[in-house]
């Protein structure tokens, strides 16, 4: 092999490595199933992007996404599934609310979803506080619930911090007049 041919071979192999890097980014980094969750609490829509669950502290500690909500207000959820594959994606979605390791209510039970290749599909549901079977927290109390969303083998946890429906301040009585010191 001449020196020119050998140097060309190195160049071609380097280009093959470069193409391999691009292919890995596309196949491993782009293709797949990606889910986005939209939650509206207190008139503010919060978006949980797919990369939130990729963060190391979330993966290692299995923490969920925490948000505050006022008791009594309905909380609409929108679960968007983006199918970045060449085949149709079929799966079941299960949504349930838990507290203290006990299941409180099932919002969606094995709801079938289907997403065409490179298309998105959306599942909507609303969580009503009265469905949780408890009364409003009292002033100074916060109550936490975990909403578990299961899609195929994936599970997402959203921790709802409910605080009281309305703040009620105790009535002030007449202020006693101090006695004069003689």
């Amino acid at each position: 092999m001449t020196a020119k041919n050998r140097s060309s071979l190195y160049l071609y192999l380097a280009l093959v490595c470069f193409a391999g890097i691009l292919a890995i980014f596309v196949v491993d980094g782009y293709l797949g199933i990606y889910d986005t969750i939209y939650i509206t609490a207190q008139e503010h829509q919060q978006v949980i992007e797919p990369d939130y669950w990729q963060q190391r502290w979330v993966k290692d500690s299995y923490e969920g996404y925490s948000l505050g909500a006022r008791w009594g207000e309905p909380i609409p959820f929108r679960y968007e599934i983006d199918n970045r594959n060449f085949s149709t994606y079929l799966a079941n979605v299960d949504v349930s609310v838990w507290r203290g390791g006990q299941e409180v209510i099932v919002l969606l039970d094995k709801t079938e979803i289907s997403a065409a290749p490179f298309q998105k599909t959306v599942v909507d549901w609303t969580l009503q506080a009265e469905d949780l079977g408890e009364s409003s927290p009292v002033v100074g109390e916060y109550r936490e619930y975990t909403v578990r969303i299961r899609l195929g083998g994936m599970e997402r946890r959203i921790i709802l911090n409910y605080y009281p429906e309305a703040v009620v301040y105790p009535e002030k009585g007449p202020i006693p007049v101090p006695e004069p010191v003689r």
Partner: protein, 57 residues
Amino acid sequence: MRIYILYGFGILLCVSGVGYLAVEYIKYLSEPGKLVCLALTTAMFALFGKYFDERGW
């Protein structure tokens, strides 16, 4: 001279493209995927170095 300017543009665009892909998608790569990427990057730079060495640079 012009050919080297073209080389420079090409290299710049390639690095920009890979940089963009890295920023956008590296967080979604699996652990084996990241390892293979690292190995390919190392091999790519080694082969480029060998290529320029053979050219006498």
